[in-house]
Amino acid sequence: MSSSENNSKGSHRKLDLKAENYPACAVEALTRLETLIASRNKQNLVMQIISEYIFLERNKDGDGRKSQSLPISQMTLCQEFQLIIALIEYFSRPGRDATRNAIFLSLFGSHLTPQRCKLLSRLISTAISGSLAPLLSAAGTWMQQVGCKTPHSLEVAQNLVSDFILYSRKTPEQFKQLPMVGPHFAANLMVAVAELYLNEQRSAALTPPPDALLDAITEWMNENPTLCQASQQPLILPAGAIAMPFATPLAGLLRWAVLAPMVSSRLAYSNLHLSVLRTLQQTVTSGESTPLPLQDLMQVIKSLQNYCARLSETSVDPRTDAAYQKCMERLAQAVQIALSCNCITNQIQLLCVLESLPNQKLMDIIIAANKKL
């Protein structure tokens, strides 16, 4: 495909699209993308139209096609607002889910500039506030396709937490209802949010989640017992696209519950822990993936080891440390239940690592019981 041919066709089409007519041109562009997106060889054109007519991006040197540097959007705040309105209207229109998801991925999949990412956060935030199911469904697909724990997802998650938890005196009802409106998105959001807190891989100190967030998530779990499985729903993607593996929030939330006693004594963690156990018990393990990958459990164990190390620095025996005992109690319970329903793959390895931790009675019982088998 020669660039001139592409150009001529492109310029022909671009006649109706005039950046001066914003946001009408963005609306027009979205409609045109529907037909272009189906053919694989029009991807560049799609990207170009998105960049020029939807996000109003210009390269610094004025030529968007040749420069390798990130394009800069020229949008004013007002235009950003208009775009969000246009996108909401577009995604609220009836249409095929596959097309909608494809356009969403085209808009925010690759080439996600910080500006686009900020706009994405605002778009999703608005969708949550307006309980817009189709848009949230597309956002859920997007998050799974780009990966729930990737920086972009985490950024979106962080922004949503800011919008709905940190800057709200009271958690808005729309956020509480999210699992009902967009279960798939909510499940993926939980994976991302879980990653943000009580995670020594992200920060040296263990930061507990905000109380309101913990409460919201425990409520989600209690009222929607199958929520954690929502991410397993098959994705509706355009033909030929490959679905990324799903992730469940269980491992992350278990980490919260197990590590929480080190930093917090809130009863809500008991409730979260129980919800995780219940979900584990209900989980039907498909062969390909497990809700509790060893890797995630190892991360928890690492944190416990670090905690014990800190204890021994102050000459405290972990066996007398109430927090450690509580952590181990929860971990042991989770391990037993996960083992009993085949949610753990590398049993022997895990048991050996667990055995190396300072003793805790329940953990001892469970290790002994499972080693016998």
């Binding site: 008991s270 129980l274 156990l277 018990q281 042991a332 469970i366």
Partner: protein, 630 residues
């Protein structure tokens, strides 16, 4: 450490968190259940936790696990099962705790529910009532279990009847029969017959105790009869129908009888039921509402018209008597009576007598039976039998008793002193209800029976009839006294149209006499027809200078009328005794003016006031003063 110690440790941990952190406690229990799925104490703790948290759905799951895996072994489990069945039994008036059990029960699987009942039943031991209650509960919850377990329950009920018939009859009739009626189990005949007898006894008690008489007892009894018949594989009898004529039942019974071996219990039970049904209809119909009062009817002998030109001999044919159409309910009454009599005769044949008399002993029918047997004896003219039975009837009032003795007297064709005393007793005890005069009390030729309502009119009519029937023949004898003729005229006022022949005979005798003393005229004769006839005789005899009609009481017989001392007055046609003629006219006018007086009361007064004279007429004894009637 042993598993038991570990189990205990985990249960203790769960218990220690129950109050402070229930979610942590639950996590402990969950873990323990996964680790030791076969440990009773772990599972039981899980159940207690859900029970105390009022989570009936979760509690039901735990309970199912325990009930399925640990049957019969743990006292704690039995406690819970008992609490559960108790709660189910009193479903409508439960404590909050029991309500929990009812709700939890609904979340148990069918298998577990059914098992709970079966285990409880097997665990009941000697507690018959408890066992029966659980069976009934199970039938209510599991209608399917009825087919398999109904025979055992019915056996238990029969067993219970031997000790406490009241309780178990009620359970049988109220609770169990309705449950098995759509699919009755097959039972040994002895048991089925016993259950039917028991149900019948229960219903009859209800009927007898008139305050609790059920709405449609016979519909139910026939249903139960069908049901028990089905359990024994009997050919069905007819269903109950209110309009259905009793003849239809009898015909069906005869059909079944002809196709059955002698003494078959099928016929025994069908005939007994029909007998009691007819008897019930008879006894019930004996009471009728007349003038806003419940009036009983009593079966009495009707009067036979006597004719001087007849062959003189009473009809002695062996044919049973007929029933007179006296009151609106007499056809129903006689029908019911005759059907009961038919059944009674059938059931007292050799093939059934033994079993039937046993049934009669078991059923609470004694008051009805003695009444029925007495009436039956009257009906068949078995005087001695009736006299014997009369002594056995204790509940009769003296009015009824007097009436029955009088009726027996009439059956004999003579009147005893006792019979006459009965008339006086009846007249002395007349009820308040007036009622009406009856038709067809006196018939020609054949013996007949009358259902006599206990009203003033009917009773006075019967007494009057009894007296007239005793003394009317004397009119045809030569030299019958003026008194007799005059008293008969008074009595005839009640019955003038029905017995014109006697009245005409009296008048013709009067006309033949030269003089006639009608001392009762001014006191007791108020009937216009009679007065007109008398005036006519008086006027037409004016030509005959010998005739003398006296309208005043004479000195001789004035003792009873209380007019002693008044000089006799004679209304004669002899000469031109203008004063006497005027006096007769005055009396006539005066009596005509009384024609609207209550004739019933007048006659009742007459009988009681003139009782000496009447007794003299009847018994022919002189002098009247020597008769002691009290």
């Amino acid at each position: 450490m042993s598993n038991e110690e570990n189990e205990l440790f985990m249960v203790k941990q769960a218990q220690s968190f129950r109050k402070s952190d229930p979610d942590a406690a639950k996590a402990w229990i969950m873990t323990a259940k996964v680790l030791y799925p076969t440990a009773f104490n772990v599972q039981y703790e899980a159940y207690l936790f859900e029970r105390d948290g009022k989570n009936y759905e979760e509690a039901a799951k735990c309970f199912s696990v325990i009930a399925t895996n640990f049957p019969n072994r743990h006292a704690e489990l039995w406690q819970e099962i008992n609490a559960l069945t108790n709660a189910l039994r009193t479903e409508n008036e439960n404590t909050p705790e029991q309500e929990f059990f009812v709700k939890m029960y609904k979340h148990l699987t069918d298998d577990v529910q059914h098992n709970i009942f079966m285990h409880t039943i097997n665990h009941c031991g000697d507690d018959l009532e408890q066992c029966i209650c659980i069976y009934i509960l199970m039938f209510k919850k599991f209608p399917k279990s009825v087919t398999t377990h109904a025979p055992r329950l019915l056996e238990l009920l029969a067993e219970g009847m031997t000790t406490d018939p009241d309780v178990y009859q009620r359970i049988l009739v109220e609770d169990v029969l309705p449950m098995i009626q759509h699919k009755p189990p097959e039972l040994p005949p002895v048991l089925a017959c016993r259950l039917y007898t028991n149900s019948l006894e229960y219903y009859l008690r209800q009927i007898m105790d008139s305050e609790t008489e059920p709405a449609d007892p016979w519909k139910t009894i026939f249903k139960v009869l069908m049901l028990c018949g089905q359990m024994m594989g009997w050919e069905p009898f007819l269903p109950f129908s209110k309009q259905g004529s009793q003849n239809v039942y009898w015909e069906k019974l005869v059909d079944i009888l002809s196709a059955s071996p002698p003494g078959s219990s099928k016929v025994l039970f069908y005939a007994t039921t029909l007998f009691i049904y007819s008897l019930y209809g008879y006894i019930r119909n004996c009471r009728l509402r007349i003038d806003d009062a419940d009036v009983s009817h009593v079966l009495v002998e009707g009067f036979i018209e006597w004719a001087p030109d007849g062959d003189g001999a009473e009809d002695q044919s062996m044919e049973p008597p007929k029933f007179s159409l006296t009151t609106p309910n007499s056809p129903d009454l006689s029908n019911a009576f005759l059907h009961a009599a038919q059944c009674w005769q059938l059931l007292n044949t050799d093939q059934f007598q033994r079993d039937f008399s046993q049934l009669m002993v078991a059923l609470p029918l004694a008051p009805w039976i003695s009444r029925f047997l007495f009436d039956l004896a009257i009906y068949f003219g078995h005087r001695d039998e009736a006299n014997k039975l009369m002594g056995e009837m204790t509940t009769q009032s003296s009015l009824v008793k007097s009436l029955q003795i009088l009726s027996l007297n009439l059956m004999q064709g003579s009147m005893t002193l006792q019979g006459f005393q009965c008339i006086l007793t009846i007249i002395g005890e007349l009820p308040a209800t007036n009622g009406h005069l009856l038709e067809n009390m006196t018939l020609k030729g054949h013996r007949h029976m009358v259902f006599l309502p206990l009203t003033r009119a009917a009773l006075v009519q019967y007494c009057t009839g009894a007296i007239v029937s005793r003394i009317s023949r004397q009119v045809y004898e030569p030299n019958c006294s003026d008194r007799l003729l005059g008293d008969l005229l008074v009595l005839q006022q009640l019955n003038l149209l029905n017995d014109t022949r006697l009245t005409q005979q009296i008048f013709s005798v009067i006309k033949q006499r030269k003089s006639f003393n009608l001392r009762t005229l001014s006191t007791y004769i108020i009937n216009i027809d009679l007065i007109e006839e008398l005036s006519h005789i008086w006027n037409s005899q004016l030509e005959d200078s010998n005739f003398e009609l006296t309208g005043s009481p004479t000195g001789v017989s004035s003792t009873a009328s209380g007019a002693a001392g008044v000089p006799p007055r004679r209304i004669g046609t002899r000469g031109a005794d203008k004063g006497a003629r005027d006096e007769f006219k005055t009396i006539t006018r005066q009596q005509i003016a009384r024609c609207n007086e209550n004739i019933i009361t007048l006659l009742a007064n007459f009988i009681s006031q003139e009782q000496l004279m009447l007794a003299q007429h009847i018994f022919g004894i002189q002098p009247v003063e020597t008769i002691e009637i009290k």
